[in-house]
């Protein structure tokens, strides 16, 4: 345990040192302007870590802000960070589910139907060249005008952004069985469905899980970006936006950290599912 924790702790310490140094450096002018006449240099340095609207908040300020905004209010209160995180997690989760379903269905189609490979792949790639992040606000507005409001438009953008790695991962995975493994199925005159269920699908799992992790992170980004426009009232994206309107840098950073924690949570859940499968396979994926 110590062996594993030590490198992480060292990196963390290094980050903290650099961070504190950077926040002193970046906030010094602001602190100097606010300081009383005759304040010493060391007093100003101390002030750089206590500003209400620092350019770069010190880590302990962000932690304090997160603690008050998480534990200071009931979780259904719009001032609670948990409330906003839950709103974003819900949209990202639904988007991820859409991406998973769409990604797998597309991959199965592409692998099994030759014409689909030619016709679909082009559109799938084209869909990813659209700068979704840039037009997400527009998409949300358009969907809002046709009556789609709340969670669904955000989930759609999250899904759009995250289905691609799942599709490509699954296409590779479903094609992973080597000719000998496929010939074996042929010697048993297995049906197409049996080849899929007993060979292609289990072989694809080793490719599915890594792409799920990429997709989860993308779904979260998609949901947050979709919350930015139209003065969204809830979600981490809304927190970021109102934070930047009013110069609440502490609020912005707290929301960013909440997003990072959400991503870690999502990855941990995927890892959990993966290790369940690995256990059933005797220790290998």
């Amino acid at each position: 345990m110590i062996r594993r924790a030590a490198p992480v702790a060292v990196v963390m310490l290094a980050v903290l040192v650099v961070w504190y140094a950077a926040s002193v450096w970046l906030n010094y002018d602001t602190a100097a302007n606010l300081a009383d006449e005759g304040a010493t240099r060391w007093q100003i340095v101390g002030d750089t870590m206590r500003l209400d609207r620092p350019l770069l908040p010190a880590p302990h300020q962000i932690v304090a802000e997160m603690i008050t905004s998480i534990f200071g209010y009931p979780p259904d209160n719009p001032r609670s960070l948990l409330y906003h995180a839950a709103v974003t997690a819900y949209a990202a989760g639904v988007g991820f589910a859409i991406a998973l379903a769409l990604g797998v269905v597309l991959a199965v189609g592409i692998v099994h139907v030759r014409t689909l490979e030619r016709s679909l792949m082009l559109w799938i790639i084209a869909s990813q060249t659209v700068p979704v992040l840039a037009i997400a606000p527009m998409v949300v507005v358009v969907l809002g005008n046709i009556g789609l409001r709340g969670m669904l438009p955000k989930a759609l953008i999250a899904g759009w952004l995250s289905f691609f790695p799942i599709t490509t991962g699954m296409v590779t995975g479903l094609r992973a069985p080597d000719p000998m493994q496929r010939d074996l199925m042929r010697t048993y005159s297995a049906s197409g469905r049996q080849v899929f269920a007993m060979l292609r699908w289990p072989a694809s799992m080793a490719f599915l899980f890594p792409s799920l992790k990429v997709a989860a992170a993308l779904a979260l980004v998609g949901a947050i970006v979709a919350e930015l426009p139209t003065g969204a009232q809830a979600g981490l994206g809304a927190r970021l936006l109102t934070g930047s309107y009013y110069g609440q840098t502490l609020q912005i950073w707290a929301a960013l950290f909440a997003a990072a924690l959400l991503a870690l949570l999502a990855i941990a859940m995927i890892d959990l599912a993966q290790s369940g499968l690995v256990r059933r396979r005797g220790g290998r994926l």
Partner: protein
């Protein structure tokens, strides 16, 4: 020992006692891959009968079409000309009727299945009841000496054990014809000897027909009732040698003059059919 062998030798080899139509009949069989400049004739005008209950080895240097012939019998390659009949049917019908078990050069086990579940794979596909599947898997894993390893995963076994598992898998649905494509080619000599002995006993006990691709002369002579010698470019059959050795064999047989004589004969035919340019 020599006297004992002579007595056993008096009983006629199994292939000659077998009656009825041949299991495999090839007539004027040719297989051509590619077209134009890329065109290669893998097999040319092969005519061959494989009798029920016989152990037939296909031997020859690389590129002589021995694997192609085996794959054609298994309906994994399509003949370009000539006829090929397996169990009185086209190879495709025979494959759909699950007439044969096939053992590949590599074990081709599915790594996500335990050894037992790998052996049960064909039984699952063929729709046997779970209870019957387990019974069969246990029987054939015991037969190849892997009974206690059934819960292991393929990558936890040695190469020889993996290949034995793949043989158990091919036997599990009890086909009357076993097609083996250099199954022991990647194994060390000692493991290979052991598996040869295993396979010989198995063939002797079950009376199944085996078609066996190899490029090892001692292996072919030890196992076979007939040896089909092939030569490359284009792949064709140059000779068929009946192995007049006792039906029951053990590894010591390989030191006897009778054995060496057959081996010498195979070697001569191989050399005649193959130029080293």
């Amino acid at each position: 020992m020599a006297a004992e062998l002579a007595v056993v030798a008096a009983t006629p080899p199994r292939a000659e006692t077998a009656d009825g139509a041949p299991v495999v009949r090839a007539q004027g069989l040719s297989i051509v891959f590619g077209s134009g400049d890329q065109r290669t004739t893998a097999l040319q005008d092969v005519t061959l009968d494989i009798a029920r209950g016989s152990f037939v080895s296909l031997i020859g240097p690389s590129g002589c079409g021995k694997t192609t012939l085996l794959r054609a019998i298994a309906d994994l390659e399509r003949p370009s000309a000539g006829t090929l009949v397996v169990n009185g049917m086209t190879p495709e019908r025979a494959r759909l009727a699950r007439a044969y078990g096939y053992v590949f050069q590599a074990p081709a086990l599915y790594p996500w299945r335990t050894v037992e579940r790998n052996v049960m794979l064909p039984l699952e596909i063929m729709g046997l009841k779970p209870e019957e599947r387990r019974k069969r898997a246990a029987r054939y894993l015991d037969l190849v000496g892997l009974g206690e390893f059934r819960r292991r995963f393929p990558w936890q076994l040695s190469g020889g054990m993996q290949q034995r598992a793949s043989i158990a898998r091919a036997l599990s649905f009890e086909p009357s014809l076993l097609l083996m494509d250099e199954p022991f080619g990647a194994l060390d000599e000692i493991t290979r000897d052991g598996l040869n002995m295993h396979l010989h006993e198995l063939w002797h006990r079950t009376g199944m027909t085996v078609v066996f691709v190899t490029h090892s002369i001692p292996e072919a002579v030890f196992l076979s009732s007939r040896i089909v010698v092939m030569s490359p470019r284009p792949g064709k059959v140059v000779d068929v040698i009946d192995v007049e050795l006792p039906a029951t064999r053990d590894l010591d047989l390989r030191e006897t003059p009778a054995f060496l004589k057959v081996a010498q004969r195979v070697r001569e035919v191989l050399r005649a059919g193959h130029s080293y340019d």
